[in-house]
């Protein structure tokens, strides 16, 4: 059992609140990701799991057992080093053996565990090589093997691939996910990259100033963000969040520049529109919707981001392909009611009454 749970855990450093009343449960064998802006408490949570920090309040549980008073070495969780670093002067084998040798584990047991972890990670054939002769993917596997050779209940990674360039990160995150799936072991993972978080996580927790704002699968959070804060963190370009004007019963989005048929607005203060949910078509071709002026057009190749001025609001739309739309022209703008996210004055989401959409 490698379930890891926090029960109302708080941690301060002097006057700074690092983690505030955090409760969550990471399930056995889950790839669980903490995501938030810098200083939102991600790394502190890892340190609390590892036992490098004591909570000021609340309880940390590993496998159902309270571990607040258990030392880091006895917690049976392992940290994979930042950037998956290996000792360059040692072979892969020596790198993996290192944590056990340090602990004066008997030689027979070291070799047994080494063989075991090497088989799990499919690296038996490269154990004799130094890190310099390994590919990026092989180095990752060796770094993970080194963390896992002690057979921890769970392993932890703190933004392990942030130093790589964009293209390599895209490949590496898929490889990490594949390794975790093969191993079937609980992994707690921290990243500051929303795309990476959504790519790798089975479930994720969104943090704001030490507090957990939402826990769920990436798609649950993306499709049903609990607040405007969460909504803005996931997705690129980010969700358009637009204020409503006019009173109850006649509320309008962006001064009426975006008309959404059949949308119940009630207590809604702001609405959110994902860029990919906005439909754009050239105005002179008689497209459906209200007119908006094109501010900029940014081609991505497979997609195009179109920034629009709709009334006083600046809105980003993302459409597939390479449409013939030019800056300073008029386009017709529309969105389906079922795609509109609704938020109350305090920023929290108002769930969609299914009947009205």
């Amino acid at each position: 059992m490698a379930e890891i749970a926090f029960r109302n855990v708080s941690k301060r450093y002097g006057d700074t609140v690092a983690v505030w009343d955090a409760s969550f449960t990471v399930r056995d064998n889950e790839f669980f990701c903490f995501f938030g802006p810098p200083l939102s408490g991600k790394s502190t949570i890892l340190r609390l799991v590892l036992g490098l920090e004591m909570p000021d309040a609340g309880e940390v549980l590993i496998g159902g057992r309270p571990v607040n008073r258990v030392s880091p070495t006895e917690r049976n969780v392992a940290m994979v080093f930042q950037n998956l670093a290996l000792f360059p002067h040692m072979s892969a084998r020596e790198n993996i053996r290192f944590p056990l040798v340090e602990r004066r584990t008997p030689e027979v047991e070291i070799e047994r565990k080494l063989a075991d972890v090497a088989a799990k990670l499919h690296i038996g054939h490269i154990l004799h090589k130094p890190p310099a002769q390994l590919s990026g993917g092989e180095r990752q596997r060796v770094a993970i093997a080194r963390a896992l050779v002690r057979d921890p209940a769970a392993y932890l990674m703190d933004d392990p691939i942030s130093a790589l360039d964009a293209r390599l990160r895209e490949e590496t995150r898929v490889e990490l996910k594949r390794i975790q799936r093969e191993l079937g072991k609980t992994l707690i993972y921290v990243t500051h990259d929303q795309e990476e978080a959504m790519s790798v996580a089975d479930r994720m927790a969104i943090l704001e100033q030490g507090a957990i704002r939402q826990v769920g699968t990436p798609l649950e959070i993306y499709d049903r963000p609990a607040s405007t804060y969460v909504a803005r963190l996931l997705g690129s370009p980010m969700m358009n969040i637009l204020p409503l004007t006019g009173g109850a019963g006649e509320a309008r989005i962006a001064d009426g520049s975006i008309a959404v048929a059949g949308l119940a607005l009630g207590d809604v203060a702001e609405v959110g529109l994902r860029p990919e949910d906005i439909r754009v078509s050239p105005w002179d071709q008689g497209g459906a919707g209200r007119p908006a002026k094109v501010y900029e057009v940014e081609p991505l190749g497979g997609y195009t981001v179109i920034t629009l001025d709709a009334g006083a609001a600046r809105v980003r739309a993302m459409v597939r392909g390479q449409p013939e739309i030019r800056p300073d022209t008029l386009v017709a703008l529309s969105c389906e009611a079922s795609r509109v996210h609704r938020f109350a004055r305090n920023g929290s989401a108002i769930s969609q009454p299914a009947e009205t959409v």
Partner: protein
């Protein structure tokens, strides 16, 4: 005239050749991105345009005028670095006013210009704040403003957005592009990020290992990459490239992809160039220009990973050199482990020589 003309430009550092004979014409008022991985020679090229480095061979012309021997300060270029050089003891206003003041502009004019540039860069509420306490995002805007306020005819930017956070970077991309479209300075923008180059530039010069690989509009380099390097570097994910051999079939010329099966017939123009051409090719298609089918004719491979990233889903299929990716809408189903059939849009297929990596003529359009 603020046209920039690089003629057979070479830069060597000792035995190392940073730039191998580059020819490039950057039009007056054009936004040109120099794009490539680190060590490709893009910053070296920009430094020579700025006058910070002296070319080993070749010339740099601004309009008709050769810049050889013209010092940096006399070239009339504005420069923004990755690491903004801001005077932290000064306010935002003093930082912005610094350049015009040094040039001896009258105070009334300086005030007016500072006001205007602050408005454009949304710095007005921060004008009297000291730079020392401001965020990286704001400092980068101040750095751009401090250079832009001198209204240089040529604006050089070297990775100006690489230190700012992702959300702000997206906003700045739009704003920088808009600024440039309004004022029509000649802009040379160095970046390793294909997304920045694609979204902002009028044209992109793609570079690798000191060699210019291709120059074209974002859509041109995306749709018609000149070679395998450009095909892979542009796009996110890059282009799929599968090794295979042209083969005749009763439906026309196809590419035999070995274990993956054979492709649909190639379009006529491509088929006629490839027919009778010996040797292996790389069959290329963009992840966004293919569909997934549960079965049927096409390239069949097992799904090795499914990434659901907000608006899009990236499906990974196959392994090793037969690995490929397809970007699908979120409602399209692909499950890990199952086999799926990839159906590329054959009009968007590009074919490359396996050995040289060059695009095969007839494979490009427009």
């Amino acid at each position: 005239m603020s046209e920039i003309h690089l003629r057979s430009l070479v830069k060597k550092f000792g035995n190392f050749t940073a730039l191998k004979s580059m020819d490039l014409r950057i039009g007056d008022g054009e936004f040109m991105a120099l794009l490539g991985p680190s060590g490709c020679g893009k910053s070296t090229t920009m430094n020579m345009i700025a006058g910070m480095e002296v070319p080993t061979e070749g010339n740099i012309l601004f309009g008709e005028r050769d810049m050889a021997g013209v010092p940096m300060g006399r070239r009339g270029v504005g420069f923004v670095f990755q690491n903004y050089a801001i005077f932290t003891h000064m306010t935002v206003r003093q930082n912005l006013a610094y350049g015009p003041k040094m040039h001896g502009r009258p105070p009334a004019e300086i005030d007016k210009r500072v006001g205007a540039i602050a408005e454009l860069l949304q710095l007005t509420p921060l004008l009297d704040r000291r730079a020392a306490g401001l965020s990286v995002n704001i400092l980068q805007r101040v750095a751009i403003g401090r250079s832009a306020i001198l209204e240089p005819a040529i604006f050089l930017l070297d990775e100006p957005l690489s230190n700012v956070d992702a959300a702000f970077r997206a906003v700045m991309r739009t704003e920088l592009k808009h600024l440039q479209r309004q004022f029509r300075q000649t802009m040379v923008y160095v970046t390793h990020d294909q997304l920045e180059a694609m979204t902002m530039a009028d044209r992109i010069a793609v570079m690798d290992h000191g060699v210019l690989q291709q120059v074209g509009t974002p859509i041109e380099v995306y749709n018609n990459p000149a070679n395998v390097f450009v095909a892979k570097f542009i796009g996110s994910p890059g282009m799929n490239l599968l090794p295979g051999r042209p083969a005749e079939s009763d439906r026309g010329l196809v590419v035999d992809l070995g274990p993956l099966g054979v492709t649909a017939p190639l379009p006529d123009r491509l088929a006629s160039t490839l027919r009778g051409r010996p040797g292996e090719v790389l069959f290329g298609f963009r992840p966004e220009q293919a569909m997934l089918a549960a079965e049927g004719r096409g390239i069949a491979a097992p799904v090795t990973a499914v990434e659901r990233i907000g608006a899009r889903t990236i499906v990974h299929l196959g392994q090793g050199e037969m690995a490929m990716k397809v970007v699908v809408e979120n409602d399209q189903h692909a499950s890990f482990g199952a086999s799926a059939t990839v159906v590329p849009n054959m009009e968007a297929v590009r074919v490359f020589d396996r050995v040289s990596g060059a695009a095969i003529a007839g494979s490009t359009y427009g």
